[in-house]
């Protein structure tokens, strides 16, 4: 009963898409995009700029990338530890609100030690293989493709490992491109993306 009433309320908020809800007993506005997104910063950094090498920066990601990632965490399609459990606490409208908030933040430049030779090799591999979806040197992404630029290398490596182990599903076009590449090539690509500021 309580649960039903609660989810109805969220449904109403979603329908009004952030507009003020005026109803009996309503004393406050529903959570704003900033209210929702600021809660994420404990793990992902202020404004979504991560200082922790295993956590991705959310700053500068597109709204679509955030929404799709959160939906996949929620359904379990994308493997996670805490993210799946957290994603279940939000609606699609919440994901869109968080996504809009993080899309409005500047890309977060990271300071990390990278291998210059790998960065150089990665740059040419990116141009030849990945640039149709990972746009602007990985600073942007086509549709729901996430921004890769300046992400922490350990985070990128952890995700690539999940892809290669088949635990995270690659989009078809990505699978086609990744298949012929060696582990060294992939490592070079990740060094390159991590280097872009």
């Amino acid at each position: 009963m309580e649960q039903k009433r609660w989810s109805n309320q969220w449904g109403r908020w979603a329908l009004t898409a952030g507009a003020l809800v005026i109803s009996a007993g309503a004393v406050a506005a529903p959570p704003s995009p900033a209210m929702l997104a600021n809660a994420c910063a404990g793990c992902h950094g202020t404004y979504g700029g991560s200082a922790g090498p295993a956590m991705p920066s959310l700053a500068g990601q597109s709204k679509e990338a955030i929404v799709v990632a959160m939906q996949k965490f929620k359904s379990g399609e994308r493997p996670s530890t805490v993210m799946g459990r957290l994603a279940k606490g939000y609606t699609d409208a919440d994901f869109a609100a968080m996504g809009a908030f993080f899309a409005g933040q500047k890309l977060h430049p990271t300071q990390q030690t990278l291998n210059p030779a790998r960065v150089a090799r990665g740059a040419s591999l990116q141009e030849a293989n990945c640039s149709r979806c990972h746009l602007e040197d990985g600073k942007e992404g086509k549709d729901d493709t996430p921004a890769m630029a300046s992400q922490w290398l350990p985070y990128l490596e952890m995700q690539m490992a999940l892809y290669l182990e088949g635990k995270r599903k690659m989009p078809e076009k990505m699978a086609e491109k990744v298949k012929p590449l060696s582990v060294e090539d992939l490592e070079a690509l990740l060094h390159y993306y991590a280097s872009v500021k």
Binding site: A28, A29, P31, N38, A41, G42, G45, G52, A87, P154
Partner: protein, 426 residues
Amino acid sequence: MTTDRRNFLKLMGAGGVGASLAACSTTGTGLDKSAGRRVVVVGGGYGGTIAAKYIRMMDKSIEVVLIEPNRQFVSCPFSNLYIGGLLPDLSTLTIGYDKLAANHGIKMVHDTVTAVDPVKKTVTVSSGGTIDYDRLVLSPGIDFRTEEIAGYDLATTPQIMPHAWKAGPQTVLLRKQLEDMPNGGTVVLSVPLGPFRCPPGPYERASMIAMYLKQHKPKSKIVVLDANPDIVSKAGLFRKGWKKHYEGIIQYRGGQKVTAVDAKNRSVSIEGMEEVKGDVINVIPPQRAGLVAGKAGVIGPDKKWCPVNGTTFESTLQKNIHVIGDACIAGAMPKSGYSANSEAKICASNIVALMNGKETIDMSGINVCFSFLSAKEAVSVAGVYAVQDGKIIAVPNSGGVSPDLSEVEAVYASSWLKNILTEMST
């Protein structure tokens, strides 16, 4: 006037924010706030730093004064790893306030609050000055209900039986006692009745101490005397980890409330029924809201914690005083560092709304809390929170604990610490 000037000089030296003072004051006395609006935040931990920062991020026209006696903050989260020997010192858990103050124009006052006047809306600090506020945020953490343990003296007992429940010298002392203990010695860890700061903390501590004993003092054991009937957080995972790694090292006894201590004799008493001796005794006393909450009159009828509005974190007992973090009653949100961080942002958003005559915003909060079971394995609990009928509830069908012990969660835990301490210090 004199006290204002003294405070002004203190501020000038306190965080390199002198330049911002001119804009906030018409009289040049620094803490005379006749010119503008001011929020005073008391307590520079997981909650207070974030409340101060986010108010400034959201509205630069509000002056923020952060009062904290210490020049550095040492994190309780991860301090159990130092106790277990996984960290060489506390440096990775220690942050300062200078960058935070400079980046956001927060005025640091390193002093202790001695009085709060909710009618005049002032706080008095130990140096004698008073500071006016429009709104006051208290993030005082915890104080100990030592009166519930016979023979416990707050000045002397922790020097022999460290609580190590406020990180810093106490943490170092407990580690040193473990190092000095002979192989074959017994460690006693007493857990108070909940609610207390960091629900899984005592059990993580038991794990970390057991890990150290297993490696360096294999003839030793640790006895956990828990006043609660059972492990209060992540129980299944702790049991699983203890069975996997520390069988025969951790002796867990639920429903065993320590009611008296004898520091000289190195023993604790369980409700007068049984005396338990130990070579190292870690008594975590029962807790209440930090001292300043009592001075402000915001502790509720339970005489322990502070009831607050679930949207604004304003005290239900005193207008214009907000309480966040371990000290407040935040419904379903546990007393954790992450909760304090999340509550601080909710509180900051709504203070800014209230001070600008705008509608408040319903809260949306998160808690994530990692615990280490061994050098490489951790587990977590996560939750998403919303307000319903004025109460903070866990969003149905979300959150929960890890399915198993996990090496990748240990990696995430370290990144979490880095992020949250960076958020607090920059």
